[in-house]
Symmetry: C2
């Protein structure tokens, strides 16, 4: 029901939100969100066009959220990469349904509207796991094992 592009874009946004403003490189985002790099470049471009992400080249470059994760809704992200299509006109091109959808298309549009509303109500900030130091899309145990290895070194 939701496209792979939508899924990737949301992972990217939640991951960037979890970094609290520290820029992330394409390679870091790809690894942390399990998104193919080629795909990711396109997703990041659309997120930047929608002014949700800011990317900077160079040595300390990378991508950050363009504004606070609290102020970005799931719907903002979805609309930036793969917009939800409401049924605003008759998909069959029936003239007498133009201003007034038939019951089927009215009902389908209502269902799409429910998703749109739910997404508008959810902020990216709400989707960042609360456990401190845990990356949103990595196994908690793996991360802590890595930390332990670092400490041992």
């Amino acid at each position: 029901m939701l496209s792979q592009t939508t899924e990737y874009a949301l992972r990217v946004m939640v991951y960037l939100a979890s970094r609290s403003g520290e820029p992330a490189t394409i390679a870091q985002i790809a690894a942390a969100t399990q998104t193919p790099e080629g795909y990711l470049a396109k997703v990041l471009r659309n997120l930047a066009l929608a002014e949700l992400v800011r990317s900077q080249r160079g040595l300390h470059g990378g991508s950050v959220l363009a504004r606070s994760a609290k102020s970005i809704s799931v719907l903002d992200v979805v609309q930036a990469v793969d917009p939800i299509q409401r049924i605003t006109q008759c998909p069959l091109g029936i003239k007498s349904h133009a201003a007034n959808l038939c019951p089927l298309h009215r009902r389908l549009d209502e269902a799409i509207g429910l998703v749109e509303k739910a997404f508008a109500r959810s902020s990216i900030a709400e989707l960042v796991p609360e456990q401190a130091g845990v990356e949103p899309f990595r196994d908690a145990s793996v991360v802590s094992r890595r930390r332990k290895l670092k400490v041992l070194r």
Copy 2:
């Protein structure tokens, strides 16, 4: 958000419901629902497999609803042709998310659940236009013009 297959299947069901038990041939259904015949055969097969439609060959053959349109929900139809996929396990295969989805996937699954519920509550009978003698997916004016022509002949 909803697939073309879902859209076609729902049109077919609403059209059959509007015929109050009179069998419809593939050609009739294709014309009345603007569905390509090849596609339609596949959709009808899946609807028959789910026991929502009954088809009979022969001179007075055709397809009819297998039970009352009141007792068939939109969800029944969707599940027969292109099932809604709930997020029941972590799409990233993260072990620690297996039993307990991360906030992102929990929220996405909730949105999908809203659609599922809305579709379960809607019956096919509710989607048949109330105006008597009007085919659900045809221009009312065209139908009445055809009628007038018949009368003139």
